[in-house]
Each structure stands twice: as C-alpha cells, then as structure tokens.
C-alpha cells in the first residue's frame, strides 16, 4: 500500500539531441519512445516504459518527479490526503501521457511538481522471462540497471519533510541538523533503501541531482573511467557518503543537470530509528573520505 519507489524523473533540456546522445551513449540508457518534445529512456534492467524523460524547453530545469504507488486505489487515498493538507491535485487520464495510465500530480511544499502513478506500461527488462542469462552483452557506457533516487532543494526542509512523512507516508532515515536543531537536509524512503527522496536547503522547486543505481564499488570505478574517457565533468568522487553509507560519483550532463551513480547503503525496516548528523560533522556526513564539502556541490543546482 502507498508509494513503492521512484518511477521516473522528467528534466527540461535545451538541446534534446545532445542530451539524448549523452544519456544513451555515455550513461547507456535505452530509448523507449519519442514524441514531439520528449525522449523517453529506461535502464536495461527496468521493466517499465521509462525512468527518465527529457523534455525540450528554453531553460534547463526540473519538470517533475514521479513515484509509483502499489495499487490503483492508492491514488484516491493520496489524492484525498494531499487535498486535506490544502494543496490542489490534478488528475491525468489514461492516454494523456506516454507509457503510463491514470496519474495525479500536485505541487509540494518544497516547490517541485510530484506525480503519483500506478499503471506503468510494462515493456520488460532486457533479459527474457524464460531462461534469462544474468547479464546481457552489448550494453553501452555505464549501463546502470535502474534509477535509484532524487535529491531536491527547498527553502524549508523541516516543513516539507513533515509533508512527505505525514501526508505521503515517507519515513526519515537520516537528518542533518544545524546548531539550533533545525533540519538542513533529510533523507526519506519508501522502498526499504536508505533513500528514495532527499531534501536539502536551497531554492524551492530545484533539483540537486538524480541518481542511478550501480552493482558495486567496481562498477563505480568503471563508471569513473567511462566518464573521464568521454570528457564528462566530474563534480565529486569516486567517494563515499557518511549519510546513507553509499559509494558515489557526482557529475554533470552536457546541459548542467547533476547526475549521480550510487551503490551500497543498508536495508531499513519501517521502524528504523532516524540517524542524526550534526552540523559540525557536515563534511564527513556528505563526503566521508574528504571530510569537506566543495562550494560547487553546495550551490549548483537546476
């Protein structure tokens, strides 16, 4: 019941061909479909229609984040919950959006547009359903198996976190507190992972990054090799987070949207106690090996 996981991230790009070339050749995603203004991409191991939508627009930015719910009637329950909180909800009928059925969307207190959907067109993983080999040959680039999480920026992290918890049922696994005890950043999950959604203080409605899952630390190393070979600007890493314990690299797509590749972490139950990081430990909290945050990481977002 309720939200299962991140379904897809929709980002605005000013050059659809350049962005598509990067996400298919360097990241190694597969193109599922294309319409007048968008390209729909998926990772090789994802059964659904797409996990990334590139939308053409005049200015780089964040269009929306979409989460999958477990059952169709979860949409009714969550629509009511969001409306009770005082935010308007819009219904989208089946057939209006490519690769999925009915959905709802609304603006969140953190300023992003959030979509909830159950019915996602099944196109299948790249492996067959009969006698599948565990790996497939001929993948390009990094070829992550799936999308993992999204980190967004907002002015009031505490208030927004309360919305995601109380109204949408997210559970806070970790939080970073300032000296006054206010939440500077929070990590929340629905999928028994360290995070599906994280919030960090910044402008309302911003996207800090979205992340793809990798197999392991060795896959992180191969990703760094592939990024460097293709001349992609690496922001930070390969390194490790204190928060979530994940191993990571941050880098930018050709239009300036920050990407991450991520692996590791832990498996929290719903009764997992929230881990707290204090501001004096912010360096190790974010980059455990360096113990220090660079200004670009703190300030650049889309």
């Amino acid at each position: 019941m309720g939200i299962l996981r991140l379904a897809h991230v929709d980002v605005v790009v000013t050059d659809l061909d350049l962005a598509t070339a990067y996400y298919t050749e360097v990241m190694g995603l597969l193109e599922s479909e294309r319409d007048a203004d968008s390209v729909y991409l998926k990772c090789w191991d994802e059964p659904g229609h797409h996990s990334l939508r590139l939308v053409y627009g005049p200015r780089v930015g964040f269009d929306q984040m979409s989460f999958r719910v477990e059952r169709e009637d979860d949409l009714d329950d969550l629509e009511n919950a969001v409306q009770r909180y005082g935010f308007p909800v819009t219904r989208v009928s089946k057939g209006e959006r490519l690769g999925q059925g009915e959905s709802i969307w609304f603006q969140t207190p953190s300023g992003q547009v959030m979509e909830l959907v159950h019915d996602i067109e099944y196109v299948g993983r790249s492996t067959p359903l009969i006698n599948p080999s565990p790996v497939i040959e001929g993948l390009k680039g990094i070829a992550p198996p799936r999308m993992d999480h999204v980190l967004v920026t907002c002015e009031e992290v505490g208030e927004a976190t309360k919305f995601y918890q109380d109204v949408l049922g997210f559970r806070t696994t970790e939080q970073l507190l300032d000296g006054q005890g206010h939440q500077v950043a929070t990590w929340m999950e629905r999928s028994h992972s360290p995070h599906d959604l994280a919030l960090v203080t910044g402008k309302n409605g911003g996207l800090h990054h979205f992340a793809f899952w990798l197999d392991d630390w060795d896959h992180v190393r191969r990703s760094a090799d592939i990024l460097a070979y293709n001349g992609i600007q690496i922001d930070v890493g390969p390194t490790r987070h204190g928060i979530t314990r994940g191993n990571t690299i941050y880098f930018f797509d050709p239009l300036g949207t920050r990407n991450e590749v991520f692996t590791g972490g832990y498996r929290p139950d719903p009764d997992f106690p929230t881990i707290t990081w204090t501001e004096d430990n912010i360096g190790r909290a974010v980059f455990y090996y360096e113990g220090d945050l660079n200004t670009r990481f703190m300030t650049v977002h889309t």
Binding site: M1, L4, R5, D45, P47, R68, E70, T127, L129, I130, N131, P132, S133, P134, P145, R146, S191, H192, D215, D216, W217, D218, R240, H241, G242, R245, G264, Y266, R267, D269, P270, D271, F272, P273, T274, I275, T276, W277, T278, N281, R284, A285, Y288
Partner: protein
Amino acid sequence: MSILRLSHVEIRVPDLELATAYYTEVVGMYETAREPDRVFLKCWDEHQHHSVILVFAPTYGLSHMGWKVSERADLDLYADRLQQAGVAVSRHAHGELGPGHGEAIRFTMPSGHLMELTYGMEQVGNLLPLTNPPPRPLGLVGFAPPRIDHVFITCEDVGANTAFLQQVLHFHLTEQILGDDGFQVATWLEHSHSSHDIALVTGQDGGLHHFAWWVDDWNAIREVADVLAYHGVRIETNPTRHGATRGHCLYFFDPAGNRNEAFTGGYVVDPDEPPVTWTEAEMGRAIFYYDGVVNQQFLTVHS
C-alpha cells in the same frame, strides 16, 4: 500492511558450544542472549535482537523460521487468513518465545515447516551510533555479514507449498524451475522487493537446504571464501553465480552440517512483476550459471 522480510531462523545443532564458536568467530555474528539450550545471535548491522537462534538438539536442521510483519494488526489479519484456509494457529505473547522476542503467531506449512510471524522484537541497535555514525565499525571478527537474507527449504510438493505462500501469505513469485512435465521443481518468492526471501526445492518435507546472509558485493564473497578456508570450514562450491536470482554466492557447511550461503546481487522487483521461468533443460545454468551443472551433493544433501 504485510510481511516485511525474513526475521530469523532457529537452527538445530547437536553441539551448542562448537556451533556458537563457529557462528561468532568464523561467521562473526554477535551473541545477544543465552538460555541453557539456546544461543541468540545477530549480525553487526541488524537492529533487532536476533536473526539466528541455535538450539541444542540431537540432530541438525531447521527448527522454525520467523517473518517480521510491519504492523501488529498483521498478526490478526494473517491468523484469520490461515484459519480460513484450515491451518491451526497458536498465539504467543511478547517475550513468551524467548528473550527479546516479539508477539507472534505460529503455524505449520503444508510441507511441515514451522513458521512464525512476529511483531515487536526488541530493538538493540546495530554496532554504530545514531548520531554521526561512520559507515562501518572496525574490528569485526570473521566475515561479518551485515544481515540475514533468505531461507531455502525442501519439500515434496513444491507447487502446493508455493501456492500456500502466494495465496495465504501474499508472497510474490519471482522465479521458478519447471520440469518437462510442467510441475514446479523449485520456486523463489519475495516480500521485500528483492529476488527472494524464501525458496523451495523438491526434496524431503521439513528439510532445510540452506539459509543465507547478505554480503556487500563480489569482493566480499572472495573474503568469505578466504576466511572459511583459513578456518578449515568445508566449502561446497567455489565463488560463483546463480542464473535464477542472478546472485553471486558461496555455499559451505556449519560444524553440525547445516548448509550456509553468502549471497549478494540480484535485483529489485515490484510486487506485480511476472515471474521468470527456467526450463528443466536449463536447470544447471539456473542454479550455477558458470558451471552449468548442478552437482549431486547440492541436490541431495540437506539438513
């Protein structure tokens, strides 16, 4: 809401001291409680009181397996569903079944395996602080897996027991091996969005094929092999890969003869994804993808 994941297994051992030494020094689990005939153990990254219980017995095998539910009301929900299906259910108060144990219901699967659903096991915390924790503790002993992962049992009628897990307990079938006659030879099912929390293979009713711990990655599998070989533990298969579940794995035996596994990899699934099917002709690759052959010992030895 529902069953979350495998909570614990209770394993019979004829020599409690020897088994405890192996599970704490070689595997690297932590002892959390002890009774005259039982020892309670947890992995370093587990928050709950125990995930393996060793129980003194004249033989080896699985005494029971416990499953964590997300809400207390799930115990009533599943007790009702089980009773409607004609299965007898016993109720146990908080702490009645042992130190740290939560409230529970118990029943027997058609295969004769004793199963428990439990809520509210004591939280003792992992080995890290809740404020500014480093990503891992230092000074761990043995191969120190972070947590228990799954259990693999044997039964005469895989089809009937798989249907029981699906229909009464809402498990989701992720993979199956079908014999040429169309019957299920082995099945893998999950509740935790992973490739499997439980698997069934044709064999004796009530048997334990193995239980598995999660390890970080393929490198950790190599470390497990190093630690086991150093201690003279009998390794059954080299580090290898499964076709079914895609996991990387290593099989070995505890001193009593219960099969253990170190496992990593696999995939995440949504609850409505269709199952993968393996045909009898490809059974070798389904079990051991690199070798393509299942050895007789793996098929016949269980506890």
